[in-house]
């Protein structure tokens, strides 16, 4: 029991050291550019704890959370889905176009758009899965390539087929508006800031992912394949099928990343639709140690930092300093994780050795 507590404390060291280090580096950067870090942090905290800031934090965290989940599903079996970026952008574009093309009663309409998004995301990720299984193409390389191809295809489809006919002096390129039956109205409005209702779907999604990965036979096979593919294969897990299925699920979840913005704000795919969420998702999954609860904390942390930093410009401090803060958090988490993992492993080996010795001594103590 004592050893267990010790190990848990060691794991706790990972986020704590990352945050301490991030604060230290950010302070250092602020001091170098001649700003007082304490003023900066104080104004961030006071602005960031206002009710509308908290609502904004949640809104910002939701797509990051979904992206983190998508990445983590792959990570859990050592698959690097770097292609989440392309998967969600293509999914958002096609889902927006499909959603604008049909008329359905409200809940069905939303469900239909989500289904299209999941199908597109799964399809695009599935290509990488199939290439890996059938042709031995590493998924890191194929998903990077697929990201760029998705950008090209998306731009082509938007410009040629899916674009809303433009009025003479209209410059914006976008898909047709989704009718209001395909919108999600906000849960509540806090201090002028919508709290978008997609957060509920995200929570359900998180629980579903948790159950799937940690509480089902499939999830057990998936984690086993991630930890030791040879052992998993020996116990009857078909690695090819696992790879394709995992990529499909990861892609389907990735398809949902853009949905909160689509349902709650844009109602169409436009050229200023948020980009880069797929890469942020990798960061969030890493910081959240690939666990739904950890990812939620990481997404909320990043969402809060993003929101709270908006006040810095008013103080005359470049708010871009938080990008460095986030970068340091990511790097220190991955390094601290690796160090702690090694210490824990050494502990476990030592523990196992002691256990064996104890058992042997007991056996010898038993009179023949």
């Amino acid at each position: 029991m004592n050893a267990r507590v010790k190990i848990a404390l060691l794991w706790l060291l990972v986020p704590v050291s990352a945050i301490v280090l991030a604060l230290a580096v950010s302070s250092l950067v602020l001091i170098i550019i001649g700003e007082n870090p304490l003023t900066a942090f104080r104004s961030m905290v006071s602005y960031g704890t206002q009710p509308n800031s908290l609502a904004s934090m949640v809104n910002r965290a939701v797509p990051l959370y979904v992206a983190g989940l998508a990445v983590a599903i792959g990570f859990k079996m050592n698959l690097f889905n770097i292609g989440v970026e392309g998967q969600y952008r293509l999914a958002a574009l096609l889902a927006a176009a499909a959603g604008a093309a049909v008329t359905l009663p409200a809940p069905l309409h939303v469900a239909f758009i989500m289904l299209v998004a999941m199908a597109v995301g799964a399809f695009w990720a599935g290509i990488a899965g199939v290439l890996r299984v059938k042709r031995g193409v590493h998924e890191v390389v194929s998903t990077i390539m697929l990201n760029f191809i998705a950008t090209g295809i998306g731009a082509y489809l938007l410009a040629n087929f899916l674009r809303k006919p433009r009025l003479p002096n209209e410059l914006i390129i976008q898909t047709r508006q989704i009718p209001s039956s395909g919108h999600l109205s906000p849960l509540t409005v806090v201090g002028g800031e919508d709290l978008r209702s997609f957060v509920l779907i995200a929570v359900v999604l998180g629980i579903a992912v948790y159950v799937l990965i940690w509480r089902t036979r499939f999830g057990y096979d998936l984690r086993a394949s991630g930890i030791n593919p040879e052992a998993a294969r020996a116990s009857g897990v078909d690695p090819s099928r696992m790879i394709v299925t995992t990529m499909l699920i990861s892609g389907a979840v990735a398809g949902l990343i853009g949905m909160t913005d689509l349902f709650g704000f844009f109602h169409a795919y436009t050229l200023d639709f948020p980009t880069g969420l797929g890469f942020d998702g990798i960061a969030v999954a890493l910081v959240g140690l690939n666990h739904p609860a950890g990812i939620a904390i990481a997404a909320l942390l990043f969402g809060w930092v993003d929101r709270a930093a908006q006040i810095l410009d008013l103080e005359g401090i470049p708010k871009e300093v938080i990008i460095i803060t986030k970068g340091v958090i990511i790097l220190s988490v991955v390094i601290a994780y690796e160090v702690v993992r090694r210490i824990v492993q050494a502990q476990e080996i030592k523990g196992a050795a002691e256990e064996t010795r104890r058992l042997e001594e007991e056996r010898e103590a038993v009179p023949a």
Partner: protein, 428 residues
């Protein structure tokens, strides 16, 4: 394994390499011949103009530098997804030093910027054993952030802003080969022999002159250095002791260590050189191609470099060929829509030729597939009169995926590429 076995292995590898180089040259000749024919049929002169080749070269340089950067890291067994980030640092530091102290400082500090990113990658992956993909992704995110932050501090109010630098006042020197391409010799304007031939529009003769002229006319000094880096890299990695040691760290680090090779040092060296080259690629973009730093300027060229490295089978000549191909596609896309359309006809004929080759080799399925796709390309050429711009910009990525899907069994990355290495522990 006996020493004799190792020796024959090396000899055979050498023979394979000579064959590979010769095959590459034959292929290049064929491509030029075919391009000339297509130029002649379609009248799309930009397909083989020296202007296009020159532009292709300029566009290929950053890809080639990034690809060579990837090569150094992966040859020592470290996958470097962070090339893009290191390139971003190269663009920022190159622009900053270019504005403050002049272009040559820009080159130097651009490389230093790339090395800074590489130090982070090396410490994380080699010293701490962090997963190489994870570290690379983190560096890409971090580098973009650092560049934005530094721009806000250094460029706002100085004629730039959060997303761009002031104009860089000076340019790097350029050279033109005299007599052949019309360069100056002490103020005397020499004749432009290849240019004269090119303007004749003779089949093959003009097309080949244009190719050579593209490599001789108005070259940036950095372009020349980059071209020289290809044979230098080959010589360094395959013909020197240090190069052999670096490669051994990427092939079999345990064996290398047991023979006294300092594996960690070799890996550090590979990653740092990688960062320097990626930084140089960034510096080229700001100092040569644009004359200014803009956010997002790298536009994924670090990743294309990575693709070029894979496409080129982890070999310097291969990387150069792939970078040239990608640069050529880019150049045509920028310069001339009819030439891009003519390229579809080129693809159709090339596929037909491939089909005939397969037929001769009695590989009937391959032949059928090549002929069908070739026919479709011909049909596409016939019924359309332009190719969507977006398709051409995605072409390098599609090509890489196709090559990987078809030939991944024939590609040979370093054996221990991407595997973490701990001294004294057997990795599996």
């Amino acid at each position: 394994m006996s020493w004799a076995g190792v020796d024959t292995g090396l000899v055979e590898a050498g023979k394979g390499r000579r064959l590979e180089t010769r095959r590459l040259l034959y292929l290049l000749g064929l491509v030029i011949l075919l391009l000339s024919a297509v130029r002649w049929i379609t009248g799309a002169d930009d397909l083989t103009s020296s202007g296009t080749y020159g532009a292709a070269l300029r566009l290929a340089v950053p890809i080639l530098l990034a690809g060579l950067g990837g090569l150094y890291a992966e040859r020592t067994g470290v996958v470097n997804i962070g090339l893009e980030g290191m390139m971003i640092l190269g663009t920022w530091f190159g622009a900053w030093a270019g504005v403050e102290y002049g272009v040559w400082w820009g080159v130097l500090l651009g490389m230093t910027g790339g090395v800074l990113g590489a130090v982070v990658h090396a410490v994380a992956t080699i010293t701490f054993g962090v997963n190489q993909i994870v570290s690379g992704v983190a560096i890409n995110i971090l580098a973009a952030g650092v560049a934005r932050f530094l721009s806000v501090i250094a460029f706002t109010g100085q004629g730039g802003g959060a997303t761009q630098s002031p104009q860089i006042p000076t340019r790097l020197p350029h050279v033109t080969v005299p007599v052949l391409a019309g360069g100056d010799v002490f103020g005397w304007q020499s004749p432009d022999a290849l240019g004269w031939l090119e303007r004749k529009r003779w089949f093959l003769v003009s097309d080949s002159s244009a190719l050579f002229r593209g490599f001789m006319d108005d070259l940036s000094i950095l372009t020349v250095i980059t071209l020289l880096l290809v044979p230098t890299t080959f010589f360094f990695l395959w013909r020197t002791r240090l190069g052999l040691r670096m490669r051994s760290a990427g092939e079999n680090p345990e064996a290398a260590e047991s023979l006294g090779v300092p594996v960690y040092t070799m890996k550090y060296l590979g990653v740092l050189i990688s960062g320097a080259l990626a930084g140089l690629a960034g510096a080229f973009l700001v100092l040569e191609a644009a004359g200014i730093y803009r956010e997002g300027q790298t536009g994924g060229r670090g990743f294309i470099g990575l693709a070029a490295m894979i496409f080129g089978n982890w070999r310097p000549t291969g990387v150069a060929s792939a970078a040239g191909l990608f640069g050529y596609a880019d150049a045509l896309n920028l310069r001339s829509a009819p030439a891009v359309h003519a390229l579809v006809l080129f693809a159709a004929i090339a596929l037909a030729a491939l089909g005939a080759w397969y037929l001769y080799r009695r590989r009937f399925t391959g032949a059928a597939i090549a002929v069908v796709i070739g026919g479709l390309a011909l049909l596409w050429y016939g019924v359309t009169d332009s190719v969507p711009r977006q398709f051409v910009s995605s072409a390098p990525y599609v090509a890489t995926l196709v090559v990987l899907a078809i030939a991944s069994q024939r590609l040979r990355p370093p054996a221990a590429d991407g595997l973490p290495y701990r001294r004294g522990q057997q990795t599996t």
